[in-house]
Structure formats: structure tokens, C-alpha cells
Amino acid sequence: MSTTTAPPARLLEGSEAIAEAMIAAGCRFFAGYPMTPFTEVLEAMAAKLPDVGGVCMNAESELEAVGMAWGAAATGTLAATGSTGQGLSLMQESLAEITLARLPLVVLNMARAQGDYFQATRGGGHGDYRHVVLAPIDVPEAVHLVQLAFHLTWRWRNPVLVFGDYYLAHTTQSVAVDAVDFGERVPADWTLDGSTGGSGRARLISPLGDAKRADRVGYNLAEHYRTCAAHTDEMVAGIEPMAEVRDTDDADVVVIAFGTPARYVRAAVKQLRADGAKVGYVRPITLFPFPTDAVARATANARRVAVYENNQGQMVDDVRLAVLGRAPVQFIGGLSLDSAGFGIAPDLDVAVLRARIEEVLGA
């Protein structure tokens, strides 16, 4: 008999579960501006965060939402913001600078379909920087990855994105929001609370670097950017890329997908396997760092590789870089969207996807 007192599973909409996971991870500051399918996360945080002594701000735009989260993060408060494509485009300037200022921040990228893969993994901002990107397949995994995001962002002092979508936000699933224990949190010697004023070494958090004139030096951007790049390298080396891999050992064709569409691809692959087809499945869970080695290993013996994305082909570039020409990589996705553009995809139908995979198998 278990001695743990895990909370019981409840029927929760994805947005609400994500909000509860953020609070379980210690998030105490949230700022946002409504936009589908991010809106319900904001609603849930506005309702739940004050109960635990946190602050949820209804910002005047995404520019200020990310700014407010930036300010809170500088005080060492675990902070998050988020939006959807256009709103995240507005935030890019700040997201780039927050990274150069080495601050922890979780960003919910509640995308419409998957056309924002490049925005998330490459970033739309200026300068040399990288964001860690986690892409859950369903609500229970989102509960885990959201908490991992807070752990990683604090550990590496670098923004971490969680890439969700309309389905993740609005699917109701039975889920237990357990607080995940990632061990002792790394102590912070950089947070602002005013107390170092007058010490001769008052703290400075700046995207321009932390060189103080007290040391008779000015801001040195060349040096700061090189320091940031070294930190990025260390972070990328220190984060284990994650992927779900199934049935790839003897697979002729390996199908690769991420996020919600991967649930449909996985079901189609399972059906085909049951019918005797030699087909395997890989799902990148960390979109950055991309699970290059896992994809390379899983496709080492494949005759063909197929990539499904609900966009015109973005992650397929990363797959091709992992496969490195050892097998043809065929794109079997394409933008599938409702007329409002929210991300409801007519193509997300196991029969449709099965037919596309069968075409690759027959090629």
C-alpha cells in the first residue's frame, strides 16, 4: 500500500491543469493578455493564483505582460507569461533581452496549429540566444512538463517555453496534479530586493551585462555576449533531450510528429503495426534541445522517414539534420485549420493519417 498522499485524479480542462501545475511548481507571478487558446490559462491563473499569495496581472498588451513577468522574475519570484502566435511575436524583443539578462521565465506558447515551431525553437528576437522548448502530447504530460519548465528555467536562468495548442488547452482529461520533486533548488545570489543598496556592490540585472563602473569598467557587450553564448552551450549540453520512441528497431518507415498531432500519428502507427506493417514512431518532447541522437538512432535502419506536422514543414528541417541523408525524409503534413484559424484540424483523423503513412510504406 502506498504511503504517499498524492492528490486524487480529477477531471480538468488542459488550461486549468496547466495553471494548477504552475502553482504546484511554485509559480507566484503571472501576467497575460487574452488570446485564444491562451485565454483560459489566464482565466485559471487569475482565479487560482491569489489564493496562494501570488499575483496575476491583466496586462494592457503582451508587451507589458512579458515586461511585468520580467520585473517579477528579477526579484527571484517564479514567474510566467504566455500567449499565442501574434502575442508571442510582440513579446520577442523582451524575450531575447530577458535571455541576455539571464533571468528565469516560463513562457506558455499556446499555439494555433503548429506553424509557430520556428518561432518557438529559433525565436523571433534579436541576438544569439536559445530557449528550451517542451512540447507535451496531452494534459497529464503537460502537468509534468510545466513543472519541469520551472525547474529548468531556475536551474539555467534561461527562459523555457511550453508549446501547447488548442486541443491541449481545451481537452478535459482525468489528471492528478502532483507536485514533482526535482530536488533542492539552486540558491540564487542575483535576485533584487533592494537590500544590497549602499553596500558598494549593489546588484545589477541587465541584458547589457553586469560589469559595474565601480570596477572602473563600462558595459562591454562583446564580452557579455560571449559569456552568454558560453552559458547557452553549457545549458544545451546539460539538458537531456527527450523523445518518445516506439517500434523503431525493425521499422522500414519511421514516422515523426510532436504535440497533439502525435497522438493521432501514434494511434495510426499502432493500427498499422497490429496489421503487420514495419512502421515505427518517434515524438520529440524537447523541441529544443532537439533529440537529434534519438532520431538518428531510431531511423538508422529505416528505408524512409516520414514527418507529420500541422504546418507547411518546419520540424522536418531538424529531422533532416538528424537523419543526415541516410534515408529520404518525406513530409506528410500540411496546414490543416478551421476557418477561424484557432487550430482545429480536420486532418487530425487516424484514418487520414494512416492513409498517408501507407503511401510512404508503399513507396
Binding site: V55, M57, A101, R203, I205
Partner: protein
């Protein structure tokens, strides 16, 4: 013997011993400014404004409670030169960062330093919304009517007729619009508890401005809501005039449109 040049500047004689002991810039430097020498232009008003802010922090004994949020402009040269904690923001974004700091740490004293380009051009909505929320922070705008850092270009506070590098024939209302009087605008916003406009072009105005800064911090300390002080500063380089003409130029041009005084308290 000390002589005068035709332009009024004194010539210090070097052929005889000095009549008083020499004094270093550091002798005049307030405690909370790390290094006295700065790289801003001669005649710039911004160091006087920054000095007034940190002197007020010291006098009110807020040193270990204060976090300054800096925008981007010439004054950013001071963001790594203070012995108060500093959060460096992007151009235009300081009030939202200050909001996040203050909401996360309500017992701190939070102030922003922004220029007219930063606050009125790039990020105008930020300061208006912060004021409307009654955000318990203090925002300072050093207003010289030009983008000084880029070399003297028109901002939203540039006065009609003023020549800048991108209004060579002077700012023309028909083509370039009218200057925004930000302090007057903010005084109309519910939630703004204290709004004033000072200047640093003469000793009297410096003293008045210092009083305004103290009152703004007192407003925040008492939790009365949003406080704002606009400070008119000289920019002889960006105004393309002789350094010693800048104080009078400020009074006759910028100061005639953006009038000094307490607008709300």
C-alpha cells in the same frame, strides 16, 4: 591672474600656484553614484537629474529598499554606476518591469528612469496604464526634447519650430504633429497621485525639482499610488548650440511649452 575669454569662460592661469586646493570630481559625487566621472556630454542635464534622484533616496533612508529600473538613452550610462539595485529594461518598457518588481516585492521602493524618447515615443502606453492602475511606483522622465543618444532627432516632446536632424527646417505641426505634454496628460489620469514637472537649468529649478522628487518618493512610501516627475534637461549637443547657451535655451524653448510646476499632489 584669472582672465576672461570673449565667450565668458574663465581661463585658469597655469604660470602660478593655485589659489585653492584642487578638488576631484569624486569630491562632489553623491554616495550612491559609484564613479563621479561620466561620459555624457559637457552641459548635459541628465547627471544633475540622476544625482537628485539618488540624493533623495539617501535622504529618505530608502537605500536598502530601492530598486531602480532604467530605460535606454544617454542616462543608461548610470545604470551600472549606482550603489542602489538596478534592473535594466528595454527602450520603452521600464514601467511594466517596475510593476512586476513592485507587485512581487511590495515593500520595496521602485522607480524608473526614462527619457522622452523612451517614455513618450516608444512606450507611451506603459506609463499611462501604470498611472491608471495607481501602480505604487515612481516614474521619472528626463525630457530634453530630442533623441540625444542618436545625435539629436525629433521626439514626441520636441517643440514646434525646433530644428533636429530629422526636422531640419524645424518641427512643423502640419507635417510632424504637436508635442505631447506628458505630465499634463498624466495629471488627468485617475490613479496618478503625484505629478510634477521640474527642470535643471538653474540652481532654483534644481532645488525645486529635488523637492518634487522627494515628494514623489514620499507618495510611494505612503502607498498613495502612482507618482511622476518630468525633469527638463539640457542637451546642447542634440540642440546644436553652445554648451553655455543651453540653460537659457531650455527656458525659452522646451520650458515654454512644457511648463515647470506641480500639476497634481
Amino acid at each position: 591672474m584669472t582672465k576672461s575669454r570673449p565667450d565668458g569662460l574663465t581661463i585658469i592661469p597655469t604660470d602660478q600656484p593655485p589659489t585653492c586646493a584642487s578638488r576631484l570630481v569624486d569630491d562632489f559625487t553623491p554616495d550612491l553614484i559609484d564613479v563621479g566621472e561620466h561620459h555624457l556630454c559637457p552641459g548635459c542635464g541628465e547627471p544633475i537629474a540622476i544625482r537628485s534622484m539618488v540624493e533623495a533616496v539617501s535622504e529618505l533612508e530608502l537605500v536598502q529598499l530601492t530598486i531602480a529600473v532604467f530605460g535606454i538613452g544617454c542616462y543608461t550610462a548610470f545604470s551600472n554606476n549606482l550603489d542602489v539595485e538596478v534592473l535594466q529594461a528595454l527602450h520603452g518598457r521600464a514601467p511594466s518591469l517596475a510593476t512586476g518588481v513592485k507587485r512581487a516585492k511590495p515593500n520595496t521602493i521602485v522607480f524608473t528612469v526614462q527619457g522622452d524618447g523612451d517614455m513618450v515615443n516608444e512606450g507611451l502606453q506603459e506609463v499611462i496604464h501604470a498611472a491608471a492602475r495607481g501602480e505604487n511606483i515612481t516614474c521619472f522622465m528626463v525630457n530634453n526634447g530630442v533623441f540625444g543618444e542618436t545625435g539629436g532627432h525629433m521626439t514626441a516632446t520636441t517643440v514646434i519650430g525646433q530644428r533636429t536632424k530629422n526636422t531640419l527646417d524645424g518641427r512643423d505641426a502640419e507635417q510632424h504633429g504637436h508635442p505631447i505634454r506628458l505630465a499634463n496628460l498624466l495629471a488627468e489620469v485617475d490613479g496618478a497621485a503625484y505629478v510634477a514637472r521640474g527642470a535643471v537649468n538653474n540652481a532654483g529649478n534644481v532645488a525645486r525639482t529635488k523637492r518634487m522628487i522627494l515628494d514623489a518618493f514620499e507618495t510611494q512610501r505612503a502607498g498613495r499610488g502612482f507618482s511622476f516627475v518630468e525633469i527638463l534637461t539640457m542637451c546642447p549637443t542634440g540642440w546644436f548650440i553652445e554648451t553655455q547657451e543651453a540653460p537659457a535655451y531650455l527656458a525659452d524653448n522646451l520650458g515654454a511649452v512644457h511648463q515647470v510646476g506641480v500639476l497634481k499632489s
